[in-house]
Assembly symmetry: C2
Homo-oligomer: 216 residues x 2
Amino acid sequence: MIPSENRLAEEYGVALATMRMALKQLVDEGLLDRRRGTGTFVKQPAFRADLFRFFHVHDVEDPDVPVIPESRILSHQEVALPADVKQAFGEESVSHCIKLERVRLWSGDPLLFEEIYLRLPDFNGLMSLNPKAMGPLLYPVFLEEFGILISSATDELSFGTATKASAKHLELATGAPVAAIQRIARNPAGRVIEFRRVHGRPERFRYRVTLGDQPA
Amino acid sequence: MIPSENRLAEEYGVALATMRMALKQLVDEGLLDRRRGTGTFVKQPAFRADLFRFFHVHDVEDPDVPVIPESRILSHQEVALPADVKQAFGEESVSHCIKLERVRLWSGDPLLFEEIYLRLPDFNGLMSLNPKAMGPLLYPVFLEEFGILISSATDELSFGTATKASAKHLELATGAPVAAIQRIARNPAGRVIEFRRVHGRPERFRYRVTLGDQPA
DNA sequence: GTCAACCAGTTCTCTAGAGAACTAGACTTA
DNA sequence: TAAGTCTAGTTCTCTAGAGAACTGGTTGAC
């Protein structure tokens, strides 16, 4: 809880209405929460919401329950930028980045295989982190360990065929049909932070997204 | 252009600051546009933006250009509600609805086959409309002919197999793999207005969506 | 004809304050 | 103990107005 609008206005030497406008702005940005008769509170990072915010793959059996599959990081290494990643990161990108490989499983069966490219030097120090300790979702780790906030992501879905690597980890034949997602994730300034290639087993794959203004 | 805040406040018998708050609210809702030194304007329905707003299928060759394929309405008829449509529309739904069948083509080749279910009685009178005169996008027609605004839609993507109908119009064999989208579209109040089942030829199919706060 | 200066009209930012609506906790009473 | 009452403190809504910042058009000088 932060001080009342009265105290804050006094403290900062501005009029009450001005302070109220400033507070309203922060409420609109989702940083504060005000309750009449109670006070103004710093909004807890709504992690329950944030967890699902960028993770829209649903189970084919029960599409109303968002799925967060078990996560298994296979490798993390510093690599030269592949061409498509370099293009996504833009001109000012350096020559190397960090690559993670990860498999996601659902009730024991592999569902997704991910190749994740993270921008350097933003993620300096990630190589010394224990990938097994990261948990099923990366974006909270980005925020807590590196102060990097992912605020938007563009997903592009298409049909593809399994590469040697994705086939191996999804237990498919090389060249078998897969669901392909390419994700470009950005911080609030629009800077590309992450590039991700995902292959998914088609029979279990479902992707849900809501466009436009969410009804209350 | 609408009258100045001064005139409006006078006319409605409220204080200037109150009128300003009301106007700001309408600006936040995207209905008005204010320019300092100039005036306040009713926002033109941004149709260029709206056109693409709910149409996120991209060409596989050049993914940066949003695709609006040629549209060909095959049939429109009044039918009994199928079970899944009834569930989407909710309990208070009536027993019948309007069903459109449509094919979308890209450079002559069929790309998407759509079965579109529209709620009655909202769309009373659509049956007497000439479907050929509708143009490639339905939502502007909904707005102009029926005063119905689509403000959000939930898409669910998965892999499926061609039905007899979709196979025929996509020039595939029945049972061939297809991209499947199920769309539920709502008006600003959250009422389900449209239910849509889409099948797409997999090799040309690409779906792009941006989640989170769009960077400026 | 061109350009600068001016001006009326507009929105934007900020001040100052009154009263209503609401909440959480303290207090009283049965 | 339990339920109702009160109260201080909070946010919310609205009034009233001054001055700054900006825009589009008009006027005037050259």
